[in-house]
């Protein structure tokens, strides 16, 4: 049996936290879309805030601000920055 390591995704990040993208678990068009916004391995992101009921998250990547639904944010695996 393999040891299960807990995967951190963007939804685990509280407001104000910054992180580095490790892997995209999206497929096909969604993946392309995320990539075209600069969300790719090694990219640095910062969580800016959440919409009511945490349905949507706003992040900052580079100098751009991006809104993502929770479902999409969960597909972005991250590493918390120290």
């Amino acid at each position: 049996m393999r040891l299960k390591r807990k995967m951190h995704t963007l939804t685990d990040c509280p407001r104000g936290c910054s992180a580095t993208v490790v892997k995209l678990h999206a497929k096909g068009p969604l993946k392309q879309r995320l990539v075209s916004f600069g969300i790719m391995k090694g990219a640095r992101v910062e969580v800016i805030g959440f919409a009511p009921i945490k349905s949507t998250v706003e992040i900052k990547i580079g100098r751009m601000r991006l809104a993502l639904r929770k479902e999409e944010a969960q597909m972005i695996e991250i590493d918390h920055d120290a």
């Binding site: 600069g38 391995k41 949507t56 706003e58 580079g62």
Partner: protein, 721 residues
Amino acid sequence: MMRETAPVCPVTENHIRIALVGQPNVGKSMLINAISNARLHVGNFSGVTVEKSEVFFDYNDFHFTIVDLPGTYAFTDYSIEERVTHDFLTNEDYDLIINVVDSTNLDKNLQLTAELMTMNKKMVLALNMSDEAEREGIEIDAPYLSQLLNIPAVKVSAAAHTGIEKLIETVIDTYNQPMREPKLVFSEAVEEEIGIIERYLDEHHFKAAISNRNIAINLLQNEKKTYRTLHDLPLWTELQPQLIEADKHIETHHDTDDIKEVFAEEYAAFIRGVIAGTVHYREQASEKKSLTERVDDLLIHPVLGIPIFLFLMWGLFQLTFEIGNIPMEWIDSFFGWFGDVVGATISNEDIRSLVVDGVIAGVGAVVLFTPNIIILFIGIALLESTGYMSRVAFLLDGIFHKFGLHGQSFIPLVTGFGCSIPAYMSARILKNDSDRLLTLFIIGFMSCGARLPVYVLFTGAFFAPGIAGNVLFAIYIAGAVIGLIAAKVLKMTAFRGEDEPFVMEMPKYRMPSLKLVWHTVLTKTVMYLKKAGTFIAGASMLVWFLSNYPHSDSVALEYAPKIEAAAEQTEMEKLSAEAAAKQLEQSYLGRIGKTIEPLFEPIGLDWKLAVALQAGLAAKEVVVSTLGVLYSVSDEASETDSSLVGAIREHIPFASAVSFIVVIMLYLPCLAASVVFTREAGGIKYFFYLLLFTSATAYLLALIAYRLTLLITGASAVLPH
């Protein structure tokens, strides 16, 4: 050179066809405006330019055609917009690309630039928003950037009109010079594979218009066109296994199985290098909160955000009513006076009635609402151009998603409050077809500007001025809520399917440019007035004719002696009103109305209101003008209150008015909008679905509203009289 000696037709030889490409919201529309003084619509949310538009202009001896392509984040063909841009760039004939980038966000923007660099086209980089970059302390070394990429780069500001001439001259220079191949540098692993393929092509003396290195890059990133071209050549059999091998290599190196992702990462790394060398940030932006961040802290606050949005909308409708009503009296009395003046010059009784009661009354009734429309349009233009729209999409996505809609559906839906036609067109920003159709079906429930006159008329008739604005707001909210519920119903029945992801850029807040808001509002208002002058004048004449003919002599004969014999003034008035009503009832319009009346009786509408609704199928403005014509006929005698508002208050019971408003709110949009709907939805069958869907909803809810109002007010069900 002297102007007079210019050749008669300098056009054909020096014709430069330019494709304007950039990511959404980089200021492409505004740049075109600045270059050519064209009046395009400029908005501050992702994806205003959904259709490509062409602009022509001359500069020195050159004739320019600029094709403004829809903004696209990457060179893919996934959404409609991306497809338009992708197909144009790969298949159409053009001389040069102007790639517009946002100087304050180069790392993201250059990603697209890198993709364009493999297109083998002449290219000029327009570093737009340089004014803003300067304010934010971003220094770009344009000459060095241009040297690193081997693409001419010019700093411009579409807003401040700087660098525009230089841009055009650079375009002309680039056009005149031979093609320079852009410089892209990849990681060692990728460079190695590129080298292998390139050498293979060289050894086989392969020669094409573009360099073998460029071909190798395109082959490795699976670029369709290059693939197709080489596919049919003899060397393909040997080349293909090498390519597969190379791609596998690269993918392992990048720890992914997606070659597109590999290249995106490669470009990103390359761009990071370029930016490190050419861009200097004077102050650390992250330390101080930017204006956008501070405004966002409030406007998209998890608790306060939605109340603030609702408050802003409420304020807009208050303004629409309060300020809009001030000039209404002037306009009303102007048309009254105008009718009298014109009427006095016409001796023929029938023609006088046609002109005064038909055309002037009808058009006047519509023009009356111009101030309200202008305020509403200004409000929507401000929402669009400040960047607030995207915030609302962000705030509302959670709720919208529950109803089966997409946060970005909000943009067409709000546009729908102005006019359904641009709303239907802007639904194209939705990538997913079933999302888009769903949104198209409920846009009509967002009451468009043309329905505003009907609401203003009725709320004015039944409510005190103090609360009329609130009622107006409530009507709009009710329409929106019904729209949401309808969306849910449709999503659960007709439009089941995968949910579209929500990934949206939040543009920076910007002060709306007054000139642009003015242009937008002006264009829309002129359109509204033009419609009043042409279409509605025509419709008014038709309604006038149908309501005045045939003229019954028997009614006239019956009443003439009675009226003559009447002893008192009041009795005389009463009799002539009766006569007019009788005449109207047996007119063509009366007969049509009477035929369909049984259908409308259960919801408390008489034939006049039913006719007004039918007329509204042509255009919603016609509802008011029809009422104007219908009631000015029976109104002649009772001079107590000459205005339409008074007539409505007098003749229509409250419950019927409520029912009427509900139908207006929900039934089929106007003819022009229906045509656009059909086109955008992609087939006539959708029009019939829409007809059925909106009619059924309108009828059902009107019935409920009518009965409820009767119940609450304790009134009995009487039809209007």
